[in-house]
Amino acid sequence: MRVTDSSIYASIRKQVMRGQARLTEAQERATSGLRVAKPSDDPIAAAAARRDHARQALAEAGMKTADVANSQLLGADSATGDAYETMVRAREIAMQAASSTMDGEARANMAIQVRQLKEQMVTIANTNVLGRYVFAGENDDKTPYSADGTSYTGGNTPKDVQVMPGTRFQAGITGRDVFGDETTPNNVFTTLENLAAALEANDQGGAHTALTAIDADQFRLSKARTKVGTMMNGLTTAQAVADRHAFQSKQEISRLTEADSVGTLTDLVQAKGALEAALAIANQIPVGTLAGGK
């Protein structure tokens, strides 16, 4: 076979260029840590990674949503608990007042306490967490209850949130579900008002009647608290699912696009070796007699 000078040099040049290209690629992989830095590196992996990026972003957003909703629900939970305790205190007073041993002055003093409990109850009903009134439904930018608890301007639709795309959770409870309908006699404010009025009037029978209403209020409050607890549980579960989704997506992205470090290092060493060999061969081209050899 006839071999010419240019073909020898062309061949060496080709080997050296290839070696350099390979080394550059290996260096890029090693420094970026990425096996798939652009879609053409592995189209299928790049497409799959795109899906996982979206999934991860939404799952992380879902976790934040669950956080925000949970802090509102925590507020609702402790407020509902406080409301219940308030009614327990009211019940104790009503029990004492319903006994015949009390005189008018004692009942009048108790009335003052009940009025304080009512004020407390309004404060609880107007609980605000991070600027939002937790019992005000969609109108949570404004105080839902008037100072005497007789008027409610909050919304009646409890707020839903989305933690994972396509799944909705109720994450809130409105005033009427917790404190009762202020347009009827069945609400904590009316109950406390009636009790206070009965005590002021030294009305032993009225105090006795109030007990029934208090029972109904306590039942509603504990039901509401259970409901809030269930929502929190649901949210916690959803948050855990979102967390897992985010984690899995992240892992998947890493599996799809990241270079394994051992392989990268081996590639780098090999590529360097190949280039050095090509350069060494270039030095071994015989220098003919013409070019000053002997």
Partner: protein, 480 residues
């Protein structure tokens, strides 16, 4: 004849031999000098048995017509795939992961929708929705612009290449006339032929041509379909680049005023590669991007005819904090064509966060019903029917925006990856043919070194012949 005549003919042989060796050494010297000259075909000295000086002033170019033909083919193939690769690689940047890409912007927009459903009353959240919507618009516009730019570059590139081809066709024609003249007058024209072959190769890099040698120094350079670019008479029919009104690249041939569309014969070489990239992956990716943009805004129809809503329709159902309803979130002009380039946040809501319709009725600031509907669009309610014929991934021929973008990313990656592989294959094929041709026609300095020694010896031998004849003559003269 007498004996003196015989001695003088010995002198003649010696002189002829020295001249022949000188010539051969000259040819060898020329080969050595040009060992690294591009396009140089080695020469061999043409020494006839009787050392005729008339014939020996010619050296012969070593050419392999068959290899040369294969070489032109391989050059066109390599030119095509290299040009196509360079043009479509833009898609790799457009659809890579990273800040500001459509994928990143879409994720951020969908996340902000989710946040709006969590805190519909919050001004900062509303501002963020507008900002990410604007980011999505910018990403669509940038991606579209990058693809358009790549197509524009391909188009400008074709125009340049056509100029380059025309310039070379003229030179080839001129050289043909010069070669015919020189060789007709008995001079050798190897260098002119080398130059011409080099120019033909440069044409073949750009457009697929074949060459017919007419034996009289003239050649014709022909495109497919028998379209002569340089005729047997040396007449040049230059190429014209005249894109259609929609920008589609068209290559025309102007044969003395007769214009012929030769685009179909120009589909290889760097011109063909650029045409293919323009018409193929770049056009398709641009179209799919436009479709995606339009569907993000207005949804799409599933193959069964049911309409799946986009962000605009869902947004229009809701109410802003200011009670406005029926507003669009995005706009993109009137047609799907160029939807990505024209994609903007609708003037209905731009700059007015209060107009974002998170609520399903007027009143409550924290009514998030419509925001929930908007957020759930990311979860699979927008379908993309891919009317352009892209195979749907999900059941029923509908896929989510995320899926549509993932599929587009996969498409872009495959096209670029295919182009890279094709280029690697074509350049490998070219290298192989180049190497074969080079080995046949190139200079080997070792071979020339041996030739040099051989001609030196031959020269010395011829000198010896003269010396001997001289001695014989002198011996003859000294007879007393």
């Amino acid at each position: 004849m007498g004996p003196a005549m015989s001695i003088s003919s010995i002198f003649n042989h010696g002189v002829k031999g020295m001249a022949a060796s000188q010539l051969a050494t000259n040819v060898t010297a020329s080969n050595i000098t040009n060992a690294a000259t591009a396009g140089y075909s080695r020469r061999v000295a043409n020494i006839t048995p009787d050392h005729s000086l008339v014939n020996s002033d010619k050296s012969q170019r070593v050419v392999e017509p068959l290899l040369h033909k294969r070489l032109l083919n391989a050059q066109a193939g390599a030119g095509e795939s290299a040009a196509q690769k360079a043009a479509v690689q833009t898609l790799d940047q457009v659809f890579a992961e990273g800040e500001g890409t459509v994928g990143d912007a879409l994720d951020k927009f969908q996340v902000s929708m989710q946040e709006l459903s969590t805190r519909p009353e919050d001004q900062a959240t509303r501002e963020k929705v507008l900002a990410t919507a604007n980011g999505l618009a910018m990403a669509f516009q940038n991606a579209s612009a990058a693809i358009k730019q790549a197509r524009g570059d391909a188009s400008t590139g074709i125009a340049d290449e056509v100029q380059q081809v025309n310039a070379r066709l003229n030179q080839i024609s001129k050289l043909g006339a010069e070669i015919q003249q020189a060789e007709g007058a008995g001079f050798e024209a190897s260098e002119l032929r080398d130059q011409r072959d080099l120019l033909i190769g440069q044409v073949a890099d750009r457009i697929p041509v074949t060459v017919n040698d007419h034996g009289n120094g003239m050649i014709s350079v022909t495109l497919g379909g028998g379209q002569d670019l340089v005729g047997p008479d040396g007449k040049v029919s230059p190429l014209l680049y005249s894109p259609d009104t929609d920008g589609s690249p068209r290559i025309m041939k102007n044969a003395a005023g007769t214009i012929t569309d030769v685009t179909n014969y120009a589909m290889s070489g760097s011109i063909g590669g650029k045409i293919k990239a323009w018409e193929g992956p770049l056009a398709e990716a641009g179209k799919r991007l436009d479709q995606l943009a339009a569907e993000v805004a207005d949804g799409s129809n599933k193959p069964d005819g049911t309409h799946v809503k986009g962000y605009n329709e869902v947004h229009a159902q809701g109410f802003g904090l200011d009670g406005d309803t029926g507003l669009s979130l995005f706009s993109y002009g009137s047609t799907t064509e160029d939807a990505a380039a024209n994609f903007v946040v609708s003037s209905d809501v731009a700059g007015s966060p209060d107009k974002l319709a998170a609520a399903d009725s007027t009143g409550g600031v924290s009514n998030n019903e419509n925001a929930l509907a908007l957020a759930s669009l990311s979860g699979g309610q927008i379908a993309s029917a891919w009317s352009s014929g892209v195979p749907p991934i999900a059941i029923g021929g509908s896929i989510t925006v995320t899926e549509a973008l993932a599929s587009l990313t996969g498409y872009a990656g495959s096209e670029v990856s295919n182009a890279i592989q094709a280029d690697s294959f074509a350049s490998g094929a070219l290298e192989q043919v180049q190497s074969l041709n080079e080995n046949a026609t190139g200079v080997s300095s070792d071979e020339e070194m041996v030739a040099l020694m051989r001609y030196q010896r031959a020269y010395q031998a011829s000198l010896k012949v003269i010396q001997t004849a001289d001695q014989m003559l002198s011996d003859l003269m000294s007879i007393r």
